[in-house]
Symmetry: C2
Amino acid sequence: MELKNHPILKAARGEETDYTPVWIMRQAGRYSERYRKIREKAGSFMNLCRNPELAAEVTLIPIEEIGVDAAILFSDILVPVEKMGIKVEFVEGKGPVLTPPVRNFRDVEVLKVPDPKEDLSYVLETIRIIKERLVDRPLIGFSGAPFTLASYILEGGSSKNYIAAKSVMWNDKELWDSLMTKLSETVTEYLSAQIEAGADLVQIFDSWMGVLSREDYEKYAFPYTKRIVNELKKRHPETPIIHFGVNAQHLLEVNNRLRVDVIGLDWKTEIPFALERIDKSIQGNLDPVALFADERTIEEKVRKILKEGLKARGHIFNLGHGILPQTDPKKARFLVETVHRISRELRG
Amino acid sequence: MELKNHPILKAARGEETDYTPVWIMRQAGRYSERYRKIREKAGSFMNLCRNPELAAEVTLIPIEEIGVDAAILFSDILVPVEKMGIKVEFVEGKGPVLTPPVRNFRDVEVLKVPDPKEDLSYVLETIRIIKERLVDRPLIGFSGAPFTLASYILEGGSSKNYIAAKSVMWNDKELWDSLMTKLSETVTEYLSAQIEAGADLVQIFDSWMGVLSREDYEKYAFPYTKRIVNELKKRHPETPIIHFGVNAQHLLEVNNRLRVDVIGLDWKTEIPFALERIDKSIQGNLDPVALFADERTIEEKVRKILKEGLKARGHIFNLGHGILPQTDPKKARFLVETVHRISRELRG
């Protein structure tokens, strides 16, 4: 099979497949013991991201361990942010801490749009190593979207309420625009370089867009994501783009105007509801906590999602958010097998 | 004006009002300096809840300080949980910690359904004191809903992913049912006693219901809330009930089947979207962070919400979630005045 005819790429393009392909957000992560050992060897999470050999190894673990249909580059959405000139540290139990805080126009002015070939060459090298070893399945590249990255930058880390980010957005529209513009350029170049290095499709994580009302999203976040997508489609028309965020049911109609191929749904978004609002392929959407349920419950939930997914233009199965660190890898493997088995049965 | 003709009660019943009434979730809270001083005097948050004189004083602060149209009892949704036999402590920076954890049938069996007149007499006394002092505006009583309370009990506190709660829900349906049944009885008796003590309307906070898929909500949470609402409507048919939770757009149609009078909307739920799905009065729904925006932005957002709210059976203005501790009280006061002014103009 030529790689371009792989079910994930076909589903993204809206072509028929024999079964529903599946991958899992954060599949190369903490729930795997092999991952934890390699991370320990690397010393820190960011060190692991910066080490192409180890990052490639980690990327490939879930292919073997749980049998997913695609690999996703092991990295973090803050990797390019660091290269803009912001220090990123991962503090145990607290998450990422970004310094210095961006407060005014001058703080944005000094931020750089990284040149991926120079500043992020280790990411591109990781992709090349993975592509040498992974011949039969696609590799997914990714980036955060401008709004989600701007939130981290303005809040100085994770946030519960996004007061700092929204305050700039509403009260200092020029500062907001200059930061978002710089982030759009950064994301465009970064994703473009990933595709050139070998990524077969890319996912844009606008994880936190759902904290915005539709009105604010349309005004302050959507235009920047749109700019990125349009530019990527111009440069790489053949490469499918997935767009994803949580608690974003109210943004479906807006996001359907993006020239992306796939829209990722969280587990609260009913598939029939989504299909009334979007005509893209869909990705999702099992509750990540469902992997703590017994196998019968998992099967029931998977069957329902697969059935509903048959009505979509194309369907890539996934969790509705990242897999949780406490998950038993056996359950993840069971999920993948169940998706393959039931979807073949339903399509057969 | 007779209290029963107060705009909040009229809006709840779907009758015409001259202006849109407004109150604010968590209005008697940390953003007020007077509140912080009284809390300090009380020693701890729970001590304050347990002291009728001080709790009444705190309840009445926002009436004077920001001019809201109703008071809401100062208390916490975990107050009745404590009287079920679970220790509740508020740990600075961590939130509530509940011990011992409920793990099996025996742990549920020993939980008591509190008799409000005996076990929660201080709450009823607080209500009586407030009602003596507050003659021209309604007092709102409240309780958590069974799902939200069960989450706290099973998780032992706040949770990010609800693994413990959902695991019991899916994997041990009998344990789940026995806990939820006990919680339903507790909430029914508690709200009923609040109404008898003088609460003019009540709000059921099912704050976290939005983490459930519609399917799971309908199966495992909704039936218990429905039971409470039906019993309350039987005992106190004249008392309006408000039902509220965040990220719950996918649950609107289901909740419209509750015999409640008002459905509270978070700021991500577009009002026109909600009105296609529910025929109750609505409450909401300004982004709490909008109070950090400049006055012009606040006004624009308020105007939009008020205009859309005119199409509802009735509209009580509120934030889409609790007011944040960092909020400037002047902005809260500005919000209330703006809601009154613009809604009179729109209705005039």
